[in-house]
Symmetry: D2
Subunit: 182 residues, 4 copies
């Protein structure tokens, strides 16, 4: 029987910024932050990506893995691999980014669909035991994200609670309509 | 004899967001703001484009024309027309954008070269008489830009002074290295 | 017969940061910006005072006079002269500040009452001819304020239009309830 | 023999926003954040106080106590109790604030001196066991502060490491000289 909280494996077309394939399973024992984004999504560019870069700089790699996931569900022509690679370079993205596997007959790619993501940015936290523990659609406050990650790093036994939050947009008025909904 | 302050005509591959071709000459009598940018230039995306949108919303079209100019000088593969069109849509750019004409044998496109732009963002102000009156490379404070535009709108006779400012970056520490230099 | 747009003279208990008494009449020929504030009003401290300092740094003193007006209408005990003087020092206020004359039997001081100010911050623009041309209650965008000042500086003949704007709060969500209303 | 990491008791002239006296000892078992500030210190007003309010809203009272400490070391006349009370009201401070006990013959009050604070804002974290675990002078990033608090809340056994950080100013250029040093 399926355990709903188990994080499904990423379905990746290609990794940028990583030589080898990364699997969630190979990261078991670490907390994992997945930042799902589109390079033309304003709230991703102004908030979620800079935040994920800051998270990468603030926690040790043995405690936390940070993974980007490029989940293109609109403007597919405009967000091809060469554009993504240039974006990663210009924004100094300091973690590996996976291109989510396209799925035939739908604009929504495979991992995005499997995780029931509602749009971008989506931030997902997976605990040391491979369970999804937080699923944020929209913006998350730095203070809260820092605390949630720390709580997960401090855990030594398995838990089952989950935070599922939609559009926790608290940062700034000007971002209110910048998230991209499916 | 050439007058150095006369604004050279734009050399445009294609306009996005405008049915017909726009020339500087056809706008004579209005003040013109040209926002030269690249869609993957961080300081353009976070500062210059939102500022130009705000400028468009703050001044009357009979007084001020706002024109975008996509001056790609790096990552050419990643900033093709389909990506630019999606960018304009997602960021709700509310003024016409010209794609600067590529030039053989150099990554710098034609208008960018003709205007001696040092990188992106570059903001250029042209007065009612077709003279270049300000050339900013980097970020400009809203307060100052608003005042400069208003002074030009208020002018009824020709002038010859010019502001040429390099990297007037005053907004935020985090933007310090986000401008893109040629 | 009274001309409604003539700026009434300030009624000042004391000036801080100026040796002599300043009158609006003595500034005739310049544009005048009056920043009415309270030192414990959050939107004044975070937005209006820093903006007025920036305005002072951006325009020439022969074109524009910037005057602060401390219009205390609440917490009178907490906003006495010694506190105001320390505030001006700590925040590096770079223009003279008048203490509005208290009025018996009402918490609203005299100049505030005469100008029908609705609370703090209030920003008032007076033209070269002594006429009130803008009366903003709440926050004003830098871009717009810079332009309005420049338009007034550029004027060489008398005008009679007035901008009267209530709570033009456009800056940030977090400031929404930070203005102080009478 | 004295244990250097034990948090000395606060020396309080008066509490605002609390009926009874609060002691650190009575809070043993909780993590404690002490926000030392002056109401006329720009970086306190723009950053540290809003951050402490956000911290109060983000953690449970059974896990974390938040205490303000008004450590006046300059402009004493301008920061008396009536001004502090009005400040707390206007800024909607949602935690009790202690007035640090003045000390004869020196401008530095007693608790500030005992804790060797270098100025304001100073943020101190005390663990569940009464040990000082972090002492920040200047600004702290939300992401880091959230994580540090969470790590202390998650601890179930005593520790002895300490973070001592001077001027970790990372937020914005404009705040660079806004902290107040003794």
């Amino acid at each position: 029987m399926k355990d709903d909280y188990s994080a499904p494996e990423l379905q990746v077309q290609e990794w940028i910024g990583s030589d080898s394939n990364i699997t969630l399973k190979s990261l078991r024992g670490k907390v994992i932050l997945i930042e799902a984004f589109q390079l033309l999504c304003p709230a991703c560019v102004s908030h979620a990506i800079p935040q994920a870069i800051k998270v990468r700089n603030s926690f040790k790699t043995q405690d936390l893995a940070v993974l980007g996931l490029h989940t293109v569900f609109e403007h597919h022509d405009g967000m091809q691999k060469s554009t993504l690679a240039a974006f990663i370079h210009e924004y100094k993205v300091n973690f590996p980014v996976a291109i989510d596997q396209p799925k035939e007959g739908t604009p929504i790619p495979k991992t995005m669909s499997e995780y029931n993501m509602r749009g971008t940015p989506t931030t997902i936290l997976i605990d040391r035991f491979g369970k999804i523990r937080a699923h944020y659609f929209g913006l998350v406050e730095d203070l809260n994200l820092g605390a949630e990650i720390a709580f997960l790093i401090a855990e030594r036994t398995a838990h089952k609670t989950i935070i599922d939050s939609d559009e926790t947009i608290t940062i700034s008025d000007s971002l209110l309509d910048m998230g991209c909904r499916v």
